[in-house]
Symmetry: C2
């Protein structure tokens, strides 16, 4: 036998704690604003607070949690301003990642992306924001995941993670954007298939995301003044 304990997920407890807390944030178990009490989490995991503290520090540096001295950690909420900044940043790094990734995409990748996009299209009737958002992430993942620069890829992942806590929010908030989004996806695929220049692909990918942001902002300000 390899292990005394059947399930030893990761090496160190600090590592496990990191993975667990991050997962819970991304998946929504810990929603924004949720207070992360060290002793509580330590108890849940059956470990002491020390590894938990280290995990929290890492998450803090990644921007997933905020931490105040002598106060504690809370899941980083995303107020509208934060959302704006995060989306803008993501538009830039994801645009770059997609452009760098595009020459490395094979026919199979394009087919897969197109399949996902078709699924999104069928999803438009009896609209399910959560499912739509999941598919949306999958679609874009196919396009940028082959980016050869690991730093940029990491930044893209972090951006998506930050938005993950919002889950579905954007498309729930601006459902009208979903249709346009699907169309833009197809256009983006054609651009990549035609071996368009990196500049063109980057710009298209960036604008695609900016457009979602703009739709959100328009909706938001309309709601304000209503």
């Amino acid at each position: 036998m390899a292990e005394t304990v059947p399930a030893a997920p990761a090496g160190s407890k600090s590592e496990q704690a990191y993975a667990l807390i991050k997962a819970r944030i991304v998946e929504g178990t810990y929603s924004p604003g949720h207070r992360l009490v060290l002793a509580r989490i330590a108890g849940d995991l059956g470990v002491s607070v020390v590894p938990i503290r280290e995990a929290i520090r890492r998450l803090e540096a990644e921007g997933l949690v905020t931490f105040e001295r002598n106060i504690g950690a809370t899941v980083a909420g995303i107020d509208p301003t934060e959302y704006l900044y995060t989306m803008q940043t993501l538009s830039i790094v994801e645009g770059a990642a997609t452009a760098l990734s595009s020459p490395l995409l094979g026919a199979a990748d394009i087919t897969r992306a197109r399949g996902v996009n078709e699924e999104m299209r069928t999803c438009l009737k009896d609209f399910d924001p959560v499912r739509f958002t999941r598919l949306n992430q999958e679609f874009h993942s196919v396009l940028f995941e082959r980016c050869p620069n690991p730093h940029i890829l990491d930044l893209v992942h972090r951006g998506w993670n930050r938005l993950a806590s919002l889950r579905s929010s954007t498309f729930r908030f601006v459902p009208g954007r979903a249709t346009e989004s699907v169309d833009e996806h197809e256009a983006l695929l054609r651009l990549i298939e035609s071996q368009a220049g990196a500049d063109a692909i980057e710009k298209a990918a960036r604008l695609h995301r900016s457009a979602t942001l703009d739709a959100y902002l328009a909706q938001s300000s309309a709601a304000d003044s209503s």
Copy 2:
């Protein structure tokens, strides 16, 4: 009196440790590959290892140190591949930051940047790579520091920090690039003064950095084949 202890630099010891280690890495006291022994640092600071561990975790998440389980932390070196990735990432985020910042730059900022650039020009004779690199950072800081998106700004800072450990290396390695660099700076300033579009400024800023990277790569491969 406000404080019992005259000098209480920062709030928590973990914070102090973070600041100190980061400073030592950036300033070069801890050079790449340097092993960061927890007990040693703890002794230096007169604290226990726990706050040190937290500081290291944060630095790890920022990419300034690498950490291996049961082995320890070392200052993240930058091998040529890492350098390439970091510069490419920086070209993208700094380009974006500069473009976003440019509309907010006042005449005073432009004047200051131009002054720094002139200093760089005089620095070309009896070339001092360290000083030149410092001025180079100052020049670019003026241009991107007003970027209203704190996330992007943070990414730019992190990129510069990662490169800081190399200190001077690039321009020492490719001194010929320094002259071009100064000229491109002036061109960039004119572009900003003329209220050029964000696209043009972003592209110029990005290419400016890419060109440095390319010069490095050319030099590097030439050295290999010699």
